[in-house]
Subunit: 346 residues, 2 copies
């Protein structure tokens, strides 16, 4: 008799798993407007909608406490959740924070963590309204849920991109990834010879992008001020390439992006060269930038091009045109998702 | 120079920690009606309120996969969250499910877990609308957030108990705890000699109460049908004694409960005797019963006493009268919280 071999999670990846576990379920409540498959779930609340998103941060997977100050970790944990609310064009309002901690943590360590959480609450104007605390067998796990509000007609999904829309990205990309490489290198040096202190001087920007990312609520505000309503939006947590493909897939479209338009800070580029990594690779597949990737109608071109923090990097195409990047040399390259996979073997 | 010794979490306990980390914070949004300190947070949503609660389940702390079928675990994880929504006299609507899993889990194992989650979704009529998946360094962590709705005037807090109110509890208590003792005993026997198979026969009730608890939505429905609005309510996750003290503290009241009125199933009592544990101790401090503990005005006595699944176990007193239990012998005993502490050393 043949026994079926169990399928390992690393074989199917995070999105494959979510697909397998959550497809073919019907929603029973009319208030469940949008379930799995966007940056946040959307729940009808009468004259407006509530948005709900949740993220896990696991020690040894998402962060390493050797070089992550607890205060920064708390701040980042809130930022990454709030970022998902902004990515729906909504305003964050509340968060819940659950933590599982091993006995090695003291009250003072957790107060440090919470000082970062509260700093982010102040920054993003959200209330901490609940949570859970538990022991853990090893290390620290943080589970944060963010709740936001928006008018129903203002919510922006991944699925709304239209052919000829402009593809835009805020800020710059790849810095968080290359900052992580630097931190990992300095950690390795320190572990070999503890008398050598980490040399992070002059690298504040890329290290800060990794350890204390900001959610781009300012971009949402800017777009509103200029009366620009994106047609599709997502935040960049897994890398530009992966996120563009989400918009294309959900909108049933293709795209053309231009290598030379992808914003990369010069400090990112310099450090990438030091590591012998193409800066472009950091931007496409690095992830953790928490910038916003969105599409706007072509008619908004004049408005968008004036906005300093926003870069037009390409346009939406019909599906048949595929998802391609035009390189600086003029070649076209198929975009692939090679970014962060929460279930990849490490 | 004197260095301050770090405070270990086990010294201050779960409620002490929550208090230290969350007190002295002001809420900035008027929509944040109730934050930390009840079974769920309450958020104003216009013509109704949304309730949000979240619970962590950590392998090795909250469950042991040696005797916990993954399907049961999935079901229980939803039950315990939904139970917190019912405890606010609200209706559950949506859940999010986040999981961190180590590489030892296969797709098939997670499908088993989700079959239990979906079984509970069907039972409690909730939609799964989101979540997150991640690797973990060790074992399985589940983080579930449940969202419910209620009219503002229907929500029942822990703080509403009035002097002379009746104290009521649904179902029976202590079974989940003694079921756990039985499972632990059989596990220990099996580990010593794997040729001895676990003997759980005839103990379906207590084992089921531990592995697959039900949230008491039927009680909420029953109370509504009989137009009984509790003045205060909480679900019993940490043991009757601890929960009564929460109501007393939050309502600024005392209480008198009567030992002989505390509902204990005969199978619970028999197994407790086998373990040389007072059945009363299981009920007072065992926890994980997920029954509802609530107070109702004295005028509802005639209505409540007819309801089979509800037991009147005492009454609310002025604060100065303390929180006491009258034993079967007529002695009074001070109630103490000795139930589950998520941060106790194990």
């Amino acid at each position: 008799m043949e026994q079926k071999k169990p399928t390992m999670l690393s074989e199917i990846g995070e999105f494959g798993l979510i697909d397998r576990l959550t497809s073919n379920r019907k929603l029973v409540h009319t208030s469940s407007i949008k379930a799995v498959g966007d940056d946040a779930a959307v729940i009808d609340a009468g004259d407006h909608c509530m948005l709900v998103t949740t993220d896990l941060l696991v020690e040894g997977i998402h962060f390493n406490l050797v070089y992550t100050p607890l205060k920064h970790l708390g701040y980042k944990a809130v930022s990454v959740n709030v970022s998902d609310i902004y990515a729906m064009n909504a305003e964050p309002r509340q968060i819940t924070v659950s933590i599982a901690v091993s006995g090695k943590f003291s009250l003072q360590a957790l107060e440090e963590l919470y000082s970062g959480i509260y700093m982010a609450c102040d920054k993003y104007n959200v209330d901490l309204v609940g949570g859970d605390t538990s022991s853990s067998v090893t290390g620290l796990t943080l589970s944060i849920t963010a709740i936001g509000v928006a008018k129903r007609e203002e919510i922006v999904y991944r699925s709304g991109a239209q052919t000829n829309d402009l593809i835009c990205v805020s800020g710059d990309l790849g810095a968080a990834y290359i900052g992580l490489q630097l931190l990992e290198r300095e950690k390795a040096i320190f572990e070999k010879d503890p008398s050598l202190q980490p040399d992070l001087e002059g690298h504040d920007y890329i290290v800060g992008r990794q350890l204390k990312p900001e959610a781009r609520g300012d971009i949402i505000k800017l777009l509103k001020e200029h009366k620009i309503q994106p047609t599709a939006m997502i935040d960049i947590s897994d890398g530009l390439s992966s996120e563009i493909l989400h918009i294309c897939k959900n909108s049933d479209k293709g795209c053309r992006i231009y290598q030379e338009k992808i914003p990369i800070d010069h400090t990112t580029a310099l450090m990438a060269e030091e590591f012998n990594i193409e800066p472009l690779i950091c931007a496409l597949h690095g992830g953790e930038d928490y910038e916003l990737l969105f599409t706007v109608p072509l008619r908004d071109f004049d408005k968008v091009k004036e906005l300093k923090e926003i870069h037009i990097i390409g346009k939406v195409m019909d599906k048949e045109e595929n998802a391609l990047m035009v390189s600086s040399g003029g070649n076209t390259i198929q975009l692939r998702a090679q970014g962060w996979d929460g279930l990849a073997e490490r």
